[in-house]
Symmetry: C2
Subunit: 119 residues, 2 copies
DNA sequence: TTGACGGGTAGGGAATTCCCTACCTAATGT
DNA sequence: ACATTAGGTAGGGAATTCCCTACCCGTCAA
């Protein structure tokens, strides 16, 4: 088991959300998803930043568990590891009924919750 | 329509992910979800930070469209606005098959994608 | 063995984040 | 009218982020 029980592990959760907070890193994830595992070079060619900067983005993603690396000779093949994203989805779940309500237009009534007796 | 078409609006997406990157802000969202709309005071009582800091967190959440405020006299009632979270879920969707694969253990074979002929 | 290549680490600088203490405004109550 | 309350804004400081240029190490090819 990764995180026994429901969404507890706060430090890990924090690392995942922080990793996703950067556009370059989200783009790396997209590339790995759409094009499969790739060495750093191939990824680097897609961005306007220098390779060492990308290297650090990859480190952040690695420490969040969102990618893994496998060495082949002098290359490092990076691969998407989507499991932490499943936890993001779990985090999202309890909010789902809110946006569904609101989209149907009856939210105005229903999400006036228990203690909403503001004058 | 908010973002005509599929997940295009990069600036908005960025603001939402950035807003979620902070634990205090995620906790604010949870409180609004579980306890309903509340004035700033009630929220402030739940954190170890001073009120002006919370005020700025609320501003970030507001600018990401994740909360709305409504004035009642001198109070501002904050309310969860979950719509942007629906877009996070949309963003998550294409990754879903990856964590499902991996969880079934056949990922090792299947996610060796098109161009995986590394020596 | 020597050189070139893939890629990570060091160190530093500019910008951003996150917190703080003051202060300001609008509404309320006396 | 005046003090109080709710809450935002100003400005500043420490920490973090994100980028850079150098540099380092391991692997492969001559």
């Amino acid at each position: 088991m990764t995180t026994t029980g429901a969404g507890a592990d706060t430090a890990a959760e924090d690392r995942v959300f922080a990793a996703l907070a950067n556009g370059t890193r989200r783009e790396v994830l997209r590339l790995l998803r759409e094009e499969g595992p790739q060495p750093v070079q191939a990824l680097a060619g897609r961005f306007d930043i220098r390779r060492p900067s990308l290297s650090e983005h990859l480190k952040v993603l690695r420490e969040a568990g969102l990618v893994s690396e496998q060495r082949y000779g002098r290359q490092r093949i990076y691969r998407l590891e989507a499991a932490p994203l499943a936890e993001v989805q779990d985090w999202l779940h309890p909010y789902e009924r809110f946006w569904r309500q609101r989209l149907r237009g009856l939210g105005e009534l229903l999400d006036r919750m228990p203690d909403d007796d503001w004058p």
